[in-house]
Symmetry: D2
Subunit: 185 residues, 4 copies
């Protein structure tokens, strides 16, 4: 079975909820970027051993959090040797606004993956966008390059939209299926 690591930063707990659902769907391991932008001991080794890495960050001021970017900058060590080349990559982001420049954050995670020579896998599904669609439909927020979730600015992590959490699980399964399909010899 593929080793999938979900490496993420969460400022207030919402992105953590999403990360947990992605990990559940993907049968993956969680790896937390802390409030200072650092990984725990053994974190880099965990990423080195991964078949697939899923990047998660809130969208703050139109891009990934600085803690996520600090992690990205620190990965220049892996970049020098192209240590992550041909691993599978994917990404997700959460923010309070429906659209709110989430695409910018996913584009950054993609760009990071390309600096590393990774393969990128996105949602691989449509988004329900008819009049009957509700926020509880799978992929209602409507990301394609990656998972986008929306938690109102005054909602606690426990109040996240159930459909978004369900979408995160489906996205995790998508990543796992892609890893199973494309990474085995």
């Amino acid at each position: 079975m593929s080793k999938i690591v979900i490496v993420y930063h969460s400022g207030y707990g919402h992105t953590k909820k999403v990360a947990e659902a992605v990990a559940e769907g993907a049968s993956g391991a969680l790896l937390v970027i802390d409030a200072e932008g650092n990984l725990p001991d053994g974190g880099w080794e965990q990423l080195a051993a991964a078949d697939a890495i899923v990047f998660g960050s809130p969208t703050y001021m139109g891009g990934p959090s600085w803690q996520f970017k600090k992690f990205a900058d620190a990965s220049s060590k892996q970049w020098f040797t192209l240590a992550w080349k041909d691993k599978l990559a994917a990404g997700f982001t959460n923010s309070a606004t429906l659209n709110g420049d989430k695409f910018s954050t996913l584009m950054y995670s993609f760009t990071l993956s390309q600096q590393h020579g990774m393969l990128w896998v996105g949602m691989g599904m449509h988004a329900p966008n008819g009049k009957a669609a509700t926020r509880d439909d799978i992929n209602n927020v409507g990301g394609y390059s990656g998972l986008m979730t929306t938690s109102p600015s005054d909602a606690s992590p426990d109040e996240m939209v159930p459909g978004d959490i369900a979408t995160a699980k489906v996205f995790g399964k998508r990543v796992a299926a892609a890893a199973a399909k494309f990474l085995k010899a």
Copy 2:
């Protein structure tokens, strides 16, 4: 008073509705890119005389419609002489999905404006994103770089969300106010 031109393409009439609301808010003139990507007679002269140009396009397949892009490519004639330099620019896009890569389309319109040496003005406002927010709030979809509206895939142009149309008028006023403030000698 500043001369503002809203140049747009609309495939099925939804973007036309938005364009009309922007024009109303901005006291601007509409200029239609037709189904073959061409402007009517006098269109280029109208743009040459404009103080501000607002670019409008649906988001199709994650970017502006080809008709809009054909217009953009044709503007290389103006680009050669930097004829639009220092005009004000702004942009809007409509699509069926809440997020749906609308940011990509706005980024393209911005990039086009920068090739031309124009100044860019965006929404200049927050987006209501609390639990009590509704789709009828001003800027509920939540664009910052430009106006984003969302019309369900099975909604007719007349069924567009009233809050989105109201937002388009507010955006038009924003562009007109910026033109009045920044373009006068």
Copy 3:
């Protein structure tokens, strides 16, 4: 062996030169988008049968040519059934300016691939950027998400930088290797 199709538009022949080199490196087939943005008879069937699709376009006015975008918009038919899901995707672009917003064009091709649910593979290599680097080094222009080439505005297709053409062959090999590695059952 994987079936790789390079689908591209070329305005003046430079992108054609790059496409031919990519095809040579990838042992792939060329598929031309014509001056009206259309594919030849059998083109859509050729794409349907492909394991990997490489998107090529010049960068015009900061994005893909309108002919390429017309092709992209026409692929909404394939999008409706997710017919290209899990195919491999990659992209390249040529323009006259060293930087010149080429990244914008590659981001669009990537966004298109994600609407289709495809996997994306980029350059997977470093870019020579020391003082001793020359334009004839492999990946000297320095794309990561895809292949970037630069042909001076007054250079004929036959005058393209040899290093860029060599890079295009290496990129083609990269795509073929990724297809061989990841697409086999």
Copy 4:
């Protein structure tokens, strides 16, 4: 005269060189983001009093440095009250690779400016891209949305390309001219 502040982070001194040249061209003041992503005492007040803010960052791993992003995240305090609304914004970035995803960094600085409701001004000039062009021409790297400079990975700050430094001064003048033209009542 307009108050122009160039707020920037520099990891190894190259971006500092560019910032100094921009400041000279713009008759602006320099404001340094330190190695921990913080501003000096009085930095936020300096930005509050500015008519125009120029954002500068190296491109690291395909985006702005984390220190720049930490500054951007900290500006959420100004964002809450839209304190920077209608100020003029511009941006620049330096990296070792000719192309090297610099566009991504400028897009982020632009996106940040739009969250704040600022107006954006870019290069407003062509890029020399014919066969006779050299790296010492003004805007030879070829940014449109902002200033792009390229310093080889093994070049000291004092070895930066003279044409890039000259371009930075011209860009500074461009920002000052735009401020003078558009910001006065």
